[in-house]
């Protein structure tokens, strides 16, 4: 929920248009998570494709359940000490009427809850890109559950919940630059500092195995992001959602072009991965800022973010931390850039009356933005590192070195992404199908024995 809202004097009534709009926006945001899965999935080597897809997909399962059970209550329930919320009616979403409205808005609580749920799902999924190829799936699933509970739900309350300290301070985070991108990027950094590098980092080539998948994922993210951003005004009665839609498009375009230009000058080629990455950097950066800046401001924010992120992705080689798919370089740097640039580009004519440095607002908004970003960054970084350490000391975070080299897909998921054996005719490894145990116990043992599995 954006700060600077005005609650109408008369109690608002349910708007069919806004409700329909928000349900579609929620579905668009849902699509971002599988989009992200493909964006990341194409960037890893063949042997880790499925694991990368699954690390995003599992968030759809785990976070959905936690959100309904208690996440929504912690994030958007009645404030306790500006740090977290709690509301018994929200637990299990059980105390709500179907036409009960979200306070001050024209959409049902259910719609608000489900829209925010999609944010809660994609945020931990974003972290996974930094951990490619090397984390036990059970450890990851446990991390997602704990991180959502201890980091995401409270941080969402700080930034968007009535009574949350950043919300009350007036930090502008329209659609999640701080709560989603800085949060996930800092968490990624925290975890990789604990778990360490991939086997062969900086020595073996780790080229993306499918850039078409990366482009498909980036395109789905871009498309879904319209729901993410334009929906964050929770309706479209006054055009702010439409402004956000325009800003999302232009900032993304500018960031893509800036990244490509930088690459052409620095490395001599306009790369596909650069176009996809630049687009995502622009989307990240405009997320906090798009409700408060003008389209020209959005172009500037996109271009600056595209350039900064393109320069930042090389840092991992310089500093030696293995942020596999540049979650820090794109999401943390892009999120920080966008959140701080609000302090320069806020016009005062959009979601908030606050004006940035370039529009006569002085340094005030800039300091607020810095405070919000700094606190979320520090909390997420430390809490995530502690969680990773805790999991590592108990069940272990990483798969064995042999398993990592052989490929995490086989080891953790008993599958491989692609079957290349069909093309070669008779050279395919021999495998035999072992049928699932049948209910009739008299037949089952004999059948299983006849079909002993031949390992490839």
């Amino acid at each position: 929920m954006p700060p600077g809202i005005t609650i109408a004097a008369d109690a608002p009534e349910l708007s069919a248009a806004n409700t329909g709009f928000m349900l579609i926006c929620s579905a668009l945001v849902m699509l971002m998570t599988p989009g992200l899965a493909f964006f990341y999935g194409g960037m890893v080597r063949v042997k880790s494709t499925l694991n990368m897809l699954m690390m995003s997909f599992i968030s759809l399962g785990i976070v959905t359940i936690l959100w309904v059970l208690y996440g929504f209550s912690i994030a958007f329930g009645t404030d306790h000490g500006s740090l977290f919320g709690w509301e018994s009616d929200y637990v299990g979403l059980s105390g709500l009427g179907v036409n009960q409205l979200w306070d001050g808005y024209t959409i049902p609580v259910y719609v608000f809850a489900v829209f925010q749920l999609m944010f809660a799902i994609i945020t931990p999924a974003l972290i996974s890109g930094a951990l490619a190829d090397r984390v036990k799936f059970t450890a990851w699933a446990l991390f997602v559950a704990l991180w959502a509970t201890i980091v995401y739900f409270p941080v969402a309350h700080w930034v968007w919940g009535t009574g949350g300290w950043a919300f009350e301070l007036g930090v502008i985070d329209f659609a999640g630059g701080t709560a989603v991108h800085v949060n996930a990027g800092a968490a990624a950094l925290g975890v990789i500092l604990v778990i360490g590098k991939r086997v062969g980092f900086k020595k073996d080539p780790m080229r993306p195995h499918s850039l078409p998948l990366v482009m498909l994922g980036a395109a789905l993210l871009w498309f879904g992001w319209f729901g993410f951003n334009a929906g964050s005004w929770l309706g479209n009665d006054d055009g702010v959602g439409a402004l956000m839609f325009v800003n999302t498009q232009v900032a993304t375009a500018a960031a893509m072009l800036a990244w490509l230009l930088y690459e052409k000058i620095r490395h001599g080629a306009f790369t596909t991965l650069g176009a996809a990455s630049g687009a995502v950097a622009g989307l990240v950066a405009i997320t906090p800022a798009g409700g408060s800046c003008s389209p020209l401001g959005a172009i500037a924010i996109g271009a600056i973010a595209g350039l900064l992120c393109a320069m930042a992705v090389g840092l991992k080689f310089r500093f030696g931390f293995d942020d596999s798919l540049d979650v820090v370089g794109v999401h943390l740097v892009g999120g920080v850039a966008g959140s701080i640039l609000v302090g320069f580009f806020a016009t005062g004519g959009g979601q908030s009356k606050a004006q940035g440095l370039f529009y006569g607002g002085g340094l005030e908004q800039l300091w607020k933005q810095l405070a919000g970003v700094g606190a979320v960054l520090a909390y997420s970084l430390i809490a995530s590192a502690v969680l990773a350490l805790l999991i590592d000391r108990t069940i272990g975070m990483r798969v064995g070195e042999d398993d990592e080299v052989a490929g995490i897909d086989q080891v953790e998921h008993a599958e491989t992404a692609y079957d290349f054996s069909g093309a070669g005719g008779g050279t395919a490894p021999r495998t035999t199908v072992v049928p699932a145990p049948v209910a009739d116990s008299a037949q089952a043992p004999a059948q299983t024995q006849q079909n002993k599995k031949v390992d490839a």
């Binding site: 490395h267 080629a269 790369t271 990455s277 393109a310 540049d326």
Partner: protein, 112 residues
């Protein structure tokens, strides 16, 4: 008899095949191969990280010919494979002691 082996760019296969057919060569064997010569592959860039791809895709064509034809066949292959750009490949010939057609048991030049 001579065995002529050519390791060349994949997209020249059709031209070489047609040129050999026009010359009168009866059969050939084609294998997918990879390798590098003096130019050592190429460089690819992913988010600023440069990867040197040493082994580039090639095809390997093998043809058995009679001694008298060998020089001409070498010429035919070289002409058809040449693009003038770096990485065009190599062609060479080696002497062959014997060859047998599996179906009939014919030996030597009769087996070609």
């Amino acid at each position: 008899m001579k065995l002529i082996t050519a390791v060349v760019k994949p997209h020249r296969l059709d031209e070489i095949k047609e040129a050999l057919q026009a010359f009168g060569v009866q059969g050939l064997t084609v294998t997918e191969a990879s390798g590098y010569g003096r130019q050592r592959g190429h460089t690819e860039v992913y988010r600023g990280a440069e990867y040197t791809v040493d082994l580039v895709p090639k095809i390997r064509i093998e043809v058995l010919v009679e001694d008298d034809d060998a020089d001409q066949v070498l010429e035919v292959v070289v002409k058809a494979a040449r693009t003038g750009k770096i990485g065009d490949g190599k062609v060479w010939s080696v002497p062959v002691e014997t060859a047998i057609r599996v179906r009939t048991g014919e030996r030597g030049p009769d087996a070609l």
